[in-house]
């Protein structure tokens, strides 16, 4: 007789000393793991619900300005540093980790309209409606240095006088150059008192300017004549001009696909364009219900943040028609500036209520250092949620966002208007000679003209 029976000794399956790790044995036989899909679905549902439970995006507010925040600038060399300018001419340097003002930069007698930190992070420039541009040296402070209650002030290095008020400003990504806009576009050098170059196309004022992060000599502006203009420093005249139906308030280049840029338009939408083919937008990003005031790309280039006059902040995927996230609070007023932090984890917004707010880019993300097991678990939950996201219950929970009543109603109204427009269009087409009314896609609808 040959006999073998299962015989386990308890020592082999339990830990010897208390400080040992518990022994774990896996048997992946499907018979031991029934209802695999049903369990996965349950976990996905739980993950979707937990995401809602943990969705607490507002981290804090930076208060100190006495008037509404008009512009912000982040330091390309440091993560914890932020500059902000307000309508009363005040400029402040913030320590983001401690949420304190480190330094104040008095001098401007009108609203600060533009701020930009130099490529090396040692200087910054500001422009104002008082017709001056000021160059400041940026103090190199350590984290948490600003411990006292009294705030130091600092004088500008250079003050440059212009003829007209300035509307916007951006610093070059490589050299000591910066561009200001207003009545025309001026290119300045840190070491010169006069602009080294000036561009103008038409007589309308230019509202915003952004340098291309990849191609150092290229920049784009938006103007109050509803135009988007592309410039190259190497040639004396602007390259190309696109006129839309409504004006664009801001522009941001996609840092990963630097030939693409997105504009924040007055008509509540954002439009992504390819600078090589401007006949049609790549994508129309809808969801705001009032003019979009500012836009900034995440350093990953996969998403961007917009601030709007409708008192909300939205985060869009770079290729999505609708927003991924909407942020609002009871006290936040019109949002004038929005920035993604340098590590793509936070979103900073400055609004009419004189506050700068810090938000998480992913509303339910756990911040701080995570244990490997936590990471694994979260990745698993994310994956399961992704897998079952089309199931109605999960979709409903995942998509739901509470918005203020005003926005909700405005959304409804806009929907009604859009529907009625579409209906009218359809009827017009049906009652006209076939082909006499062309079918214009939404991506082209708002483009009026392209000039070379």
């Amino acid at each position: 007789m040959k006999v073998k029976v299962i015989s386990r000794s308890e020592q082999d399956f339990t830990k010897e000393r208390t400080e040992d790790v518990q022994k774990v044995y896996r048997n992946l036989d499907p018979a031991l793991h029934p209802f695999e899909k049903a369990h996965e679905y349950t976990r996905a549902l739980n993950a979707a619900k937990l995401d809602k439970v943990f969705a607490k995006p507002l981290i804090g507010a930076l208060d100190g300005h006495a008037d509404s925040v008009s512009c912000m600038a982040k330091n390309p060399r440091r993560l914890n540093c932020l500059l902000s300018g307000s309508m009363d001419g005040d400029i402040r340097l913030w320590d983001l980790a401690y949420r304190r003002t480190i330094r104040q930069f008095p001098g401007h007698r009108g609203a600060v309209t533009g701020l930009a930190v130099s490529h090396d992070g040692e200087h910054f420039v500001s422009c104002s409606s008082d017709c001056t541009v000021r160059l400041w040296s940026l103090p190199q402070t350590e984290m948490g240095e600003a411990s006292g209650t009294d705030i130091e002030t600092q004088e500008p290095v250079v003050t440059l006088q212009g003829k007209n008020g300035f509307r916007a400003l951006d610093h070059h990504w490589k050299g000591p150059l910066f561009a200001t806009t207003g009545a025309q576009v001026d290119i300045w050098d840190h070491n010169r008192s006069d602009p080294i170059n000036s561009f103008s196309w038409g007589s309308e004022s230019v509202i915003s300017v952004r340098w291309n992060p990849a191609e150092p000599d290229v920049f784009a502006t938006t103007g109050s004549d509803r135009s988007i203009v592309l410039y190259d420093m190497r040639v004396s005249t602007p390259l190309r001009k696109l006129i839309m139906q409504t004006r664009c308030n801001a522009l941001a280049w996609n840092p990963r696909e630097a030939f693409n840029f997105t504009v924040a338009n007055e008509d509540c939408n954002c439009y992504t364009y390819d600078m090589r083919k401007m006949k049609s937008a790549l994508c129309v990003h809808k969801d705001h219900v009032s003019a979009v005031m500012d836009i900034d790309y995440s350093p990953t280039g996969r998403e961007f943040v917009t601030g709007s006059y409708d008192r909300s902040v939205r985060i869009f995927e770079y290729n999505a028609g609708h927003s991924r996230e909407v942020y609002h609070t009871k006290r936040m007023q019109r949002v004038f500036c929005a920035k993604f932090s340098g590590d793509a984890t936070y979103v900073l917004t400055g609004s009419d209520d004189t506050n700068i707010r810090i938000w998480k880019a992913k509303a339910s993300e756990q911040l701080g250092v995570k244990l490997p097991r936590e990471k694994g678990k979260q990745a698993y939950m994310e994956k399961v949620k992704q897998r079952y996201k089309f199931l109605p219950e999960i979709k409903r929970i995942d998509r739901h966002r509470h918005v203020p009543k005003a926005i909700y109603k405005a959304e409804k109204l806009r929907q009604t208007v859009a529907n009625s427009d579409r209906r009218k269009d359809d009827r017009r087409k049906r009652h006209s000679a076939p082909g006499s009314i062309p079918n214009i896609p939404a991506r082209k609808k708002k483009i009026v003209q392209e000039l070379e």
């Binding site: 006999v3 029976v5 299962i6 399956f13 209802f35």
Partner: protein
Amino acid sequence: MAATGVEGPPPRKKARKSDGSADTPKPSLEEAQAVIEKQQQKDTRKKAVKYNRGPQTKLKGIQDKKLKGQLRATEKLYGEAATSAAKVEQWLLPAEAGFLEAEGVERTQNYRQEAILPHLDLTSQRKIFDLRLPDLGPYSLDYTRSGRHLLVGGRKGHLAIMDWARAQLVTELQVKETTRDVQFLHNESFFAAAQKKYVYVYDKRGIEVHCLKEHTDVLKLGFLHHHFLLASVGKYGVLRYQDTSTGAIVSQHKTKLGRCGVLGVNPYNAAVGLGHSNGTVSFWSPNMSTPLVSLLCHRGPVTALAFDVEGRHMVTGGIDGQVKVWDVRKFQPVHAYFSPQPAQALDVSQRGLLTVAHGSTVQVWQDALKTKAKSPYLTHRLFDNSAIADVAFCPFEDALALGHSGGFSSIIVPGAGNPNFDSFVANPYETKKQRREAEVHLLLDKLQPETITLDPYWIGGVRKAPKELQKAQAAAEAEANRKAALQAGKEAALKNKAKGKSKPTKKHRKKQLNIIDNKKATVSADLASKQLKRKQESAVEDSDADMLRSSALARFYKR
């Protein structure tokens, strides 16, 4: 150079060949390793079949490139997961299953437990024992999922939980009431007992926690582990489901088939099977007030019912003396065995061993589900001719527990249990902390009762449109295509190529030709099918002719 080549030693290959003619060639180390590796890969591939999640998606007809890419990536991931799981099985599973082999003319069914005993190690020897409790029996039993704890309930109200592998009594109580069945809930800390009138829930200290007054006159209990549902059926033939995590009665179904004392839970889809006195077995889910399926299994009442672990087979025993094996996916009988007395209790072990118990005899059958077995694997007779009441295989152990009128017995059945447990599913060596954590995870992963169906994999799948609808859609599509083709033909601009070809009549005819295009395709398809048919017919005729030629009538066949 050429000259030296000719004069030099012959190439290596040739030399080996000449050696090989003398004696068998010795493979080099690398070659041997390559052969072994190949064999291992083959084994892994064979083992991976088990871990594949259904048949692969066919990518051929998919037009959408993005979807195709995603599906391809998913399939690849599934393949990798299956391979790695097979490798885990091959290398990391610590133990192998037990076995019992006879030598010479001996047969395993003749081995008694006393004969097996001396061949076992000390710990296994302790698993063969009898508890003589003649006054309180017959006993019903239940193991926890890990097989660590055993719950016994005597008819006269004696309830006990044992840490049976360590031979420790955890708790013992006397409820002084008829107790018909006992059932552990999600772990060893709670159990339910079907008593004279109601079902009671006790904790592991033996303290009565709940009295479930909705469950009246219950004869049999069952527990759905993944759904936290306690199912009961009794004298009045009402099947009740109670959620043990929330306490709510989920549903109550009247079977309308009278007294019912046979209940089994299919571990694959959590459908509850009930054996009725009219010989039918009905399958129930909490969501339907009528049975999902009803099977006529026996002539006369059904006495016992068991499912295998994978939920593929069901075994039923009837008063007609038959023990039948059913395919639960097709609802068809597979085999039938005859038992001298009606089977009182049935159970299927994790590795597919079947126990049939009647009177004071217990038979264990090996390979009796997939194939028809000729003779039992083991037989056992209870002491003092006690009558069997309940049998249960211990999960992850080679032990079989027998509850009978004389008390309780445990015997060894080599090869019954799965030798490798999964710590996250059922861990026999669970610590208190692990048990608490597992409980939380069980509750988080609890499945809703609404999801109980015959096919547990419908969730997340796509329900196809009914065939009639599909046909109607296809017809509408074809009609639209035809119309579009007609329109296109009419609108097509004709070229004025040659003299005399652009006459109005010819133009019209050409247009007609264009129109016919679509029709032409159908006509040609028709023609092709007709031709094929004709060919097949002729082939049949040919074969007839061949038959004629080979038969006795061949000589009359005209060549």
